[in-house]
């Protein structure tokens, strides 16, 4: 019939198309993305982009020629709003721009949208979110403005801290406001959180933990009803943190509207199995929009939603194979990275359920690795300015190997030499 429709022109969407072509599929492929930009990488948007080091061409995923040569039609700046489906799985998608796109196979790579802060004042001028290229295109120059001196960042996760680091490197007066009692609490252990708190404070960033924000304040709305500029962030105790610019980085929400409309099971994301198949058994989904069986062989059983480039790419490869009727099953060592100031954080594995932690190296020297253990076996690590140890641990985890805790703590022996086969097989 008429080929494949991929909804979402992102890392996952483009990779599904790329893998389908690699696997020999010759049918038409159409990728529809609602952003007006060519498919691009998101990670640099909160890093180099904010420091003015990058141009739009630096973040594109593939050349126009790449799409042309592979017969992949890219529709940018349009949005699939409804999908009609036949009993055989084929169907027709309708877009906001009036296109009708017939397909035989359907892939959802709808991603996630930025989580909005349900508080008054987020519509003042100078209040920014950071998720899409358009957000970064607006925030970059705003942050560089001379009159912007005081920056308040709401959210002490990866995005917030990366934005705070960029602002600090631009010489701004920066305050990070986090609602919980530690930084990056969703991703790292208390040891790593405590290190990042100290490290950011050492670099002159103020950090307020356990903060309850009641609203964003600004100059009065003009007679025309337009919002004026932001003036500060108000906390529950009445304190107002003065701000010329506010960045909100409080996470994302998976985009599931189309999945819901298609009657697919949705539970904190589009529910997929290890083949990336949704609940109808024929639609595939990949990337930030999905919730899946834990793909990490050493992970705990509960379904997970993983926001990372690695996950988007690896899931997309499996989704492509599944769409073509080939056997594929998603298993990986998830990994993540975050560049904040001169600190390179790399995380290998998922630490959920750890019962022991070994710190190797020196937090004072800002060069150390936190290794997580469960029942004596290495399951994950946070590596700060330790890229070689990160790579060695990631490979060890992929090969089912471990590092005895006592050996891991001994910095007189190179980590590579302490990697051994695990005594017990992988338990899932």
């Amino acid at each position: 019939m008429q080929g494949t429709l991929i909804v979402g022109a992102c890392q996952a969407g483009v990779q599904i198309a790329a893998t389908m072509r690699d696997l020999g599929d010759c049918d038409p492929i159409v990728i529809v993305g609602e952003e007006s930009h060519r498919p691009y990488q998101r990670p640099p948007l909160s890093k180099g982009w904010l420091k003015g080091e990058l141009e739009p061409d630096d973040v594109v995923l593939r050349t126009r020629q790449w799409f042309d040569e592979r017969g992949i039609t890219l529709v940018s700046g349009d949005r699939v709003v409804t999908i009609g489906r036949e009993p055989d799985g084929s169907g027709v998608a309708q877009t906001l721009g009036g296109r009708s796109i017939p397909f035989a196979r359907l892939a959802l790579a709808t991603g996630a949208s930025v989580r909005r802060l349900p508080l008054p004042g987020t519509d003042y001028r100078g209040v920014h979110y950071l998720r899409d290229a358009d957000d970064a295109i607006a925030l970059g120059p705003a942050l560089a403005e001379e009159r912007v001196q005081r920056v308040v960042v709401i959210g002490g996760g990866f995005i917030g801290l990366e934005a705070a680091s960029a602002a600090r490197q631009l010489g701004k007066d920066v305050t990070v406001v986090e609602g919980t009692d530690r930084l990056i609490g969703r991703a790292v252990s208390e040891q790593t959180s405590a290190f990042y708190l100290d490290a950011h404070r050492r670099r002159g960033t103020r950090v307020v933990l356990g903060a309850r924000i009641t609203g964003i304040v600004g100059e009065d709305a003009s007679a025309a009803g337009r919002r004026g500029s932001v003036e500060g962030v108000e906390l529950a105790d009445g304190t107002v943190l003065p701000a010329d610019l506010v960045v909100i980085g409080v996470g994302v929400v998976p985009r599931v509207e189309l999945a819901v409309q298609l009657g697919l099971e949705v539970n904190g994301g589009i529910v997929v199995d290890e083949r990336c198949l949704a609940s109808d058994g024929r639609t595939v989904a990949a990337g930030d929009c999905t919730i899946m069986p834990n793909p990490y062989p050493l992970g705990r059983g509960e379904p997970v939603r993983i926001e990372s480039v690695n996950n988007a790419l690896e899931q997309a490869k499996v989704a492509a194979a599944t769409l073509l009727g080939q056997e594929a099953s998603y298993a990986t060592v998830p990994w993540f990275w975050s560049d904040q100031a001169d600190l390179k954080l790399q995380i290998a594995g998922l630490s959920t359920g750890f019962d022991d932690v070994v710190v190797r190296g020196s937090a004072e020297a800002e060069k150390f690795t936190v290794l997580y253990y469960r029942e004596g076996r290495l399951i994950a690590a946070d590596c700060v300015n330790q890229p070689a140890e990160f790579l060695q641990i990631k490979q060890a985890l992929a090969k089912g190997r471990t590092i005895p805790p006592e050996a891991a703590a001994d910095t007189s022996v190179p980590l590579k030499q302490s990697i051994v086969d695990a005594a017990v097989p992988v338990a899932t």
Partner: protein
């Protein structure tokens, strides 16, 4: 214009005209050259863009920087004297580059 000649592990040769300022990794990924992954987009985080650099190219580009040198100790295929992470080699106008990919990147 710059040219990069990529030789895959299986011997397949691909020649790409690149944009000066782009890296050898970016030029490969954006044009669909296989054998270079570049998962982290060039932020020196993944070491999946490992290449072996031909001798005349090595003279042109030199050896790795400190962080890159450390990461080369963790590549999927062991480093050799002419190993580089291709995300760290930026194309200069008018130059030709020759690189060979290892059998594995991940």
């Amino acid at each position: 214009m710059s040219t990069v000649v990529y030789t895959a592990h299986d011997g397949v040769v691909t020649s790409i005209d690149g944009r000066p300022g782009d890296s050898i990794m970016e030029t490969a990924v954006r044009n669909g050259v296989r054998g270079i992954v570049g998962e982290c987009g060039g932020s020196l985080s993944c070491a999946t863009c490992h290449v072996f650099v031909a001798s005349e190219t090595f003279e042109l580009v030199g050896g790795p920087g400190d962080l890159e040198d450390e990461m080369l100790d963790g590549t999927a295929v062991d480093r050799q004297h002419n190993s580089r992470l291709s995300c760290q080699i930026k194309l200069q106008d008018g130059c030709e580059y020759h690189v060979t990919m290892p059998s594995e990147q991940v």
